[in-house]
Symmetry: C2
Subunit: 106 residues, 2 copies
DNA sequence: CCGTTAGTTCGAATATAATCGAACTAACGG
DNA sequence: CCGTTAGTTCGATTATATTCGAACTAACGG
């Protein structure tokens, strides 16, 4: 049951985090994760091919935004909220608040 | 003395803003503007060719992050802080706080 | 051990963005 | 009106991302 590598919080880069969140699909994944954690990739696919979804999860992982744990046959994803809050105080929180508000009205 | 078009605050998109700030050079421009406003492009060039600088300023303008006013022969740039704060509460503020902290230590 | 499920990796195609020099423009100073 | 300054626009090149299908892998269920 091999696991993933996750960068240390101290090594995360702000531009990299912003870049990861600048894609609408990835932002939506993060928003949905904020509402329900942890969650496998599958329910977040939104009609895309698996290889594309896998790519986007990989970008989020490398940016330090999500943590993925292999549990049996599924890969459970969650936000690294505490670490991000410590490393980049207020950033994810503010972005999520806006993303939630946007999606609430449409 | 023709001026620039600036998108309305209500039309700004969060992914577009995050994308604009995800480039280290642009983030640095915004950080420096936060410290001294308004400012022309030239002192923010940091050794790059003018065409490249111009491109990055254009990205920031289209994302709604900066406003550029033509004043005589120079183009004065400032942050659209109030509008951004209203449209995306806390987002720019949090990002700037982190950017300032990063640049303080190196 | 076989099939299924969940997701990754590969490789090629396409799209998007960054970079730079060169030519351009608009405003001012003399 | 000429030169200078500040920045834009153009066009080509290169770099970086995204996309997708196909082949792969690891774990579980029977």
């Amino acid at each position: 049951m091999k696991q993933y590598d996750h960068p240390l919080a101290q090594d995360l880069q702000l531009p990299c985090l912003l870049y990861a969140l600048s894609d609408p699909f990835r932002l939506e994944v993060v928003r949905k994760l904020a509402l329900c954690q942890p969650q496998p990739c599958a329910p977040l696919q939104d009609g895309r091919p698996k290889s594309s979804v896998s790519h986007h999860f990989s970008v989020l992982r490398k940016a330090g935004i999500i943590r993925t744990e292999v549990v049996g046959v599924t890969h459970m994803n969650s936000l690294r909220e505490r670490e991000l809050e410590e490393r980049f105080p207020g950033v994810l929180r503010a972005i999520m608040a806006v993303a939630m508000a946007e999606s609430a009205q449409g």
